[in-house]
Structure formats: C-alpha cells, structure tokens
Amino acid sequence: MSIPATAAFTATLGRELRIATRHKAEWLMPPLFFAIVVTLFALGAKPGDPQLAALAPSVLWVGALLAALLTLDRLFRGDLEDGWLEQVFVGPAPAMGMVLAKLLAHWLLSGLPLLLLAAPLALQLGFPSGAPLGWLLLGLLMGTPLLSVVGGFAAALTVALPRAGLLLPVLVLPLLAPVVIFGSGAARAAQAGLDPGGPIYFLAALLVLSLTLLPWAATAALRNAFD
C-alpha cells in the first residue's frame, strides 16, 4: 500500500484545525494582544500626534511579531508530550509534511487574524488609507507567514525544553530583523509616496528562502528531540 507523501500534511492539518475548534478562546489571544499593544502605543503618545502615523509601520510590525510569538511555544510541545510526533516520525509519510501543516495552521490561526486586524489599527494610528495601506497589508501578507516559519523553527528547536518560552524571543529576534526592516521599510516608502517595490521584493525573497530552508531545519530539530 503506497502512502501518499502528503499523508502527514493532510492528517496534521485536519487535526490542527479540529483541535483549534475546541480552543476557540485561544484564537482571540494574538489579535487581542496586537490591538492592546497598538492602543497602548497610541495612549503613550500625545492625542492625535502626527508622529504616530510616522511610527505606525514599526509599531504594527513589531506588534504583529510579538503577537505571533504568543502561540508559538505550544506549537509542537503538546504533540510531543501526547506522542503524536512519535507516530509521525515513525510513520511512512515524510515528517516534513507534518511540520508544513503545523506552520500553515499557525499562520491561519495566528498570522491571518493579525493581518486582517492591521488595517483598522493602522488607520487608528493615522496611517494614510488607500495605496499606502495596501502596500502595508501586502507586506504583512508576506511577513506573517515569515513569522510563523521562523517562529516554528525556534519552537521546534526548543520543543523538549520545559521553560522554552523565555528563549523563543531571543532566538527569533535576530532572524526576524531583516523582515521587520524590509516590512516597515516598504510601508514607510509607500507612506512617503515613494515606490515600495524594492523592499517588497526583498520580503518576498526572504519568504521564499525561509520556506525552503526552515521547514527542513525544523524537522531536523524535532527529530533531535527524541534523541
């Protein structure tokens, strides 16, 4: 009986989404956290301060980054402790499928809501609507999967560690520095009426590079957790 190579992918994706339906409250945490961070920033500034609009890209990108980190710690840990990871690595289908499904599920459940919420929050900060907002969202459309892939790799590295939550931000920060630079750089360029093509293409390049390198690295890291 030949096992389709995507068996691990489809099985895990279905499982992740079904588990998510049992934890409805957990979905709301990242967007809620994102809204709180942005609002606190606004409260920290003078009411209706024009400077806030200039800082909006940075605030939105860093806010989304931190919000995505929240749900990363539990990405693989539960399945390691339950024994599902064991079954995946021992099973016939390639384990990378499971990792890709996990990253996709994390993006759908944590990344996408942040992207949708970014529009109203941007306007709240006084970021110009219209084309600049479009470029900001395009940047985040590529940035949020990057957060999931890079964060997923860090989560895989620390899956066997009890208190990995403290370590994740330190592991993820340097790997995401270029993402924040190009992401908010594109939004600032659009805001200033310049052509944001350059940074957007760099962001796309980073996304493609991460999608090819990091799932493999995360799978190797997870396999390491059994040793």
Binding site: S2, A7, E81, G83, W84, E86, G91, P92
Partner: protein, 195 residues
C-alpha cells in the same frame, strides 16, 4: 522465512552513557522478543532505536517489512481535546489506512461506548487500550510495543494476551519491553535482560 527485524553489532546510549553493547538478533515470524530490565536500564532506548526514532551509537537495524509496522510507545498519541474516534481517525489518515477498521477494533478493546468522549476524560487504562486498539485497525506483521502493560487493568491484560497470541500464531512477530511477565501463553519468547 523472512526475518522481519534484525540488528547487527548494535550499540545504544543515552547522552554519553553506553546502555547496550554489541547486540545481535534476527526476528522471524512467530517470534516474541521480550526486553526486560529495571527502569532506566535502556529498554525504551533500545526499542526506540529499533523503531528508528533514535540513531544507534553504532551498528545497524534492518526492518524488512519496509515501514509497515506498529509502534505503540509510552505515550498513547491521544490529543486530550479530540474524541477517541477523532484521534484514531487522525492516526488512520497519517498512515493511509481506511477508517472502517476503527469500530471493530474499539469493540474488541471494550471501548465502543467511549467513542465520542474527549480523550482527556478517559482513565489511564482506557487510554492504554485505545493506543493498543491501533494494532487491530491495520494488519501489520511486525509489532513494537514499549511497556504495553503499564496502566492496563485486569481485563485489558487478558485482551492484550489474546491479541499477542493470535498475532504470533498468525505469522506475526513482536518486540515488547516490560518489567512484568507477559500475559497469555506465547510459544517462542526470547528474553533480553538489560541493565
């Protein structure tokens, strides 16, 4: 008589500590290999190497049945929030196995009425039986069981004994770790004492 599982010059360790040195064996259909020893002697490490979950320090493991074997580890692979049925559905999807074997397997393990209960509400014995029910969902010639008896109640032990007996007489082979004696009457049991 194809050998289902063989090991040559196998050395296994946990961290930098050597647990098993220079192990050789070949498992024929009908054989039962019982790895016995006190806790921490390396039983789990050894079977995890045989399953391919961990690399040996040296030596080779060869599984002739390709990837088609059953692995029941310490952990039952049951997500607490999914129902028993959903957990087994996920396992079938992962292994490309049709789901219609689930119902009879649960009946045989006496778990039929717990089918729709979330896994977290099951007792330890019930969870162990749920993990063992996977052995019936898909026919595989090689079984690798890590401490299958742990948590099993009296009735569960009896069922497991029957399953192992039927499997072994039906041209199957089993590698099992346990510090207790195995249930049921098994024709050919070779014991490897560890630690």
């Amino acid at each position: 008589m194809t050998t289902l599982l063989s090991a040559t010059a196998l050395c296994i360790g946990r961290g930098d500590r050597r647990l098993v040195s220079d192990l050789h064996f070949a498992l024929q259909p009908g054989d039962v290999l019982h790895l016995r020893g006190r806790n921490g002697a390396g039983k789990s490490s050894l079977i995890e190497v045989l399953v391919g979950l961990r690399p040996p320090q040296s030596g080779q493991v060869h599984r002739s049945a390709g990837d088609a074997f059953h692995w029941v580890g310490h952990r039952n692979a049951l997500n607490p929030d999914l129902t028993l049925r959903e957990n087994l559905d996920c396992w079938c999807a992962l292994n490309g196995v049709p789901g219609d074997g689930i119902a009879p397997a649960l009946d045989r393990m006496g778990l039929a009425r717990l089918r729709l209960r979330p896994a977290r509400t099951l007792s330890a014995g019930q969870k162990r039986r749920a993990a063992l029910s996977r052995l019936l969902i898909a026919r595989r010639s090689l079984w690798l069981l890590d401490e299958p008896l742990s948590g099993l109640d009296g009735e569960g032990l009896a069922v497991l004994g029957q399953l192992m007996n039927e499997h072994v007489t039906g041209e199957g082979a089993i590698v099992v770790t346990s510090h207790q004696t195995l249930p049921g009457k098994l024709p050919r049991v070779t014991v490897i004492e560890l630690g």
